[in-house]
């Protein structure tokens, strides 16, 4: 009989929740193995190519559920490799949200004030920096000018992009071939490897079981290099502690599948999923009106016609992030680029007399694609997503060899969520249609349901065992030694891009996970500097603690 491999910590997933854990625990002296379902690509492998099988489809997953589709990373570095690197902190009022449970959703220990030192750690590590106006691409400038014209403010958003390296190619969803995007491939992960962490790509964790010594056995299958529908050998690793960070679309699925071996899961595992209240509107601008009303001209004399140029979202409107407004009526609006392929089919024709998303008028709209502007709403949904029984393997039944699959998530937006979307649609329309600048329509939810690029809350932290799966130290209730540090731990929609908050929560969870390892006899300590050696934020955390 072959002995099963064993280590101190298995980290499942290598996005923010996994990479931050891998770094701190390895730097502290623990033996760490990271199992990542997706491939491991580096800058030169990030293609500027829509061809099926290029990095665009290799590192990115689009899982269609019943009423909600989830887009997410599927590679070493996870979401940080495919995301747009916009990293604001969540506004203060978000931490006071009550949702529909009649009590504060967040643990008492967490507020914006207590999280700020952990945000600082992430900001130092990536790093995250404010964006100067003179580096804002045309699309962001257009949105800012339209906001100002309508009497609103607009902010260039803080971001994890090295602007001196960025070419504004807008291919960042396929990975950044210039290493301008400060993904985890450039900071936490190489630092974790330098401290001995092992990262194993193409290892898809299927389930966990419990060992007699109180540790866990992590069961995985190897994923085919090209065709992700094909799984190869299975294997297992034993660990004293498991850090689960497979993403909010996968973490609860792994736990649910493990239930026969581990025993009952907390009620909140696979419930209370939030799509971060996300919603998209697409505007088609009248170039003449952009010039006449907003006074904008760019190189070559055009007014705009530059949807393709830039780096995702750069300018955001925070006028509805007002804590004095009722819950569910607060949202941010963010100018966004979405590439062709996935980014056009759901856009609807303003003033359509026939079908809104296909046909003759849709083609006419496509001919004006460079004059499009997409506006991204992040609002307060009602945590109404519920996962059905897990698929046989992974978190989806894969349709294509890469990227596209069907998953078990069911989402029926409540009146609260619909109200927020409706208010934000009206706000977008008011800003962008003023004085004939543009015509606007929301994306249709009729084809693949609602959609989110920021899945959250499917295994959330909280103080109430009835409505949270994790305690405020991110430990799974009733299953000591399993910690969840990805977006599924975030209790609710954040009204802004969540990566900064997911990462800050993961940073905050680390001292507790170190203690759990110490209690199990692992000689590990907490206190690593930033991945590049900076220590200012570590001092801030020490003061706060």
């Amino acid at each position: 009989m072959t002995a099963t491999e064993s280590t101190d910590v298995v980290v499942i997933g290598s996005g923010f929740g996994g990479a931050i854990a891998a770094y701190h625990l390895a730097a502290g002296g623990a033996r760490v193995v990271v199992l990542e379902r997706g491939p491991w690509l580096t800058a030169e492998e990030f293609d500027h190519d829509f061809l099926l099988g290029s990095s665009y489809t290799r590192i990115f997953d689009f899982v269609i559920g019943d009423g909600m589709s989830v887009l997410g990373g599927n590679c070493v570095g996870g979401g940080s490799v495919v995301f747009f690197a916009t990293m604001p902190r969540a506004p203060r009022f978000v931490f006071e949200r009550r949702g529909s449970i009649g009590r504060r959703l967040w643990p008492a220990a967490i507020s914006r004030d207590t999280l700020d030192p952990w945000y600082d750690r992430v900001a130092e590590a990536l790093p995250v920096r404010p964006t100067p106006w003179e580096r804002v691409p045309y699309a962001g400038g257009l949105f800012a000018a339209a906001c100002a014209h309508a009497g609103h403010t607009a902010n260039p958003a803080p971001s994890a992009i090295d602007l001196d390296e960025c070419t504004n190619c807008n291919w960042m969803i396929a990975g950044c071939r210039f290493d301008a995007k400060r993904s985890l491939l450039l900071n936490y992960l190489p630092a974790a490897i330098a401290h001995g962490a092992e990262i194993r790509p193409k290892h898809e964790v299927q389930s966990l079981s419990r060992n007699d010594d109180g540790g866990y056995r992590v069961h995985y299958r190897l994923v085919d290099d090209l065709d992700y529908r094909v799984l190869h050998d299975s294997g297992a690793i034993d660990a004293k502690i498991v850090v689960l960070a497979a993403g909010a679309g996968a973490t609860p699925v792994i736990l649910r599948r493990s239930e026969p071996q581990l025993g009952p899961m907390p009620y909140a595992v696979g419930r209370y999923f939030s799509g971060n209240g996300e919603r998209l509107n697409t505007a088609v601008f009248d170039e003449d009106r952009v010039r006449e009303v907003l006074g904008l001209t760019r190189d070559g004399g055009q007014a705009y016609a530059a949807y393709q140029i830039g780096r995702g979202p750069t300018v955001t409107n925070w006028d509805w992030l007002d804590g004095s407004l009722p819950e569910y009526e607060r949202f941010s609006l963010e100018q966004l680029y979405f590439p062709p392929g996935l980014g056009t089919i759901l856009a609807q024709v303003p003033d359509a007399t026939g079908p809104t998303w296909f046909g003759v008028q849709k083609k006419e709209m496509l001919l004006r694609w460079q004059s499009w502007l997409t506006i991204f709403t992040m609002s307060e949904d009602d945590n109404e997503g519920v996962f059905g029984p897990p698929p046989e393997t992974g978190n989806a039944h894969r349709l294509s060899q890469q990227m596209l699959g069907n998953g078990p998530l069911r989402y029926r937006p409540t009146a609260n969520t619909l109200r927020g979307w409706s208010l934000s649609d009206a706000a977008v329309k008011d800003i962008l249609e003023r004085d004939g600048l543009a015509r606007v329509m929301p994306w249709t939810n009729d084809l693949v349901g609602a959609y989110t690029v920021h899945p959250l809350a499917s295994c959330r932290i909280g103080d109430d065992p009835a409505t949270s799966a994790l305690d405020d130290g991110h430990e799974l209730r009733g299953h000591p030694g399993i910690f969840v540090t990805d977006g599924s731990a975030v209790p609710c929609a954040l009204t802004v891009n969540p990566a900064m908050t997911i990462a800050a929560l993961a940073e905050r969870a680390m001292p507790g996970i170190v203690r759990a390892l110490q209690e199990r006899g692992v000689p590990v300590r907490y206190g690593a500097p930033s991945p590049d050696g900076e220590t200012a934020a570590r001092r801030g955390v020490a003061r706060a603690g």
């Binding site: 900001a123 404010p130 803080p158 070419t167 190619c169 001919l367």
Partner: protein
Amino acid sequence: MQPDTLDADPVRTMTIEAFADTIVPGEKRSPDDRAIAGAAPGGGAVAAGAIALLEAPGGGLAPALDALAVALNDHAKEYAKERGLVLDDDVPPFVALSFAERTALVQLLTAPEHPEKQMWVALALFSNMAFDSAAHLSTVDAFAAGHPGLLAIGYFRPDDDGVWRFPQYSYGRQLANLHPNTTPTGSPA
């Protein structure tokens, strides 16, 4: 862009082409083209390579195309029968429908309550992808071949090395007032 395929099943090809042409319509390849309705000027999904993309093994729909064509033609027959339409026997039933009728049928099949919605939406998604992103071709090759969809949407060409860079990208000035509650980190308070 459509490769010359000696397809064993021209009925299937015509039927799927007619569906793709309903999603992104284009001009007829010849006066006697039946699959393409000719509802819009310029190349549409078919000229953009929808069949090649749908038949690509990586896409996942290729094994279902036979069944989809049969089902689509069954729906077309049913649609015609309910409305008293007499269909031309020379072509598959879906192809025999007018563009307006094809459009109406696709709206029915992709409506939220339709039990087969998911597969028709998938077919539409791939038809659209062929046009606006040429996902069956390397994007650089698609440009070199004059791909009708990428050219139609005005997608900018890459540099000579096949990589996109935009040295000119900004209006270069402040265009709105910042929110008053912005913190020094650039985040909302």
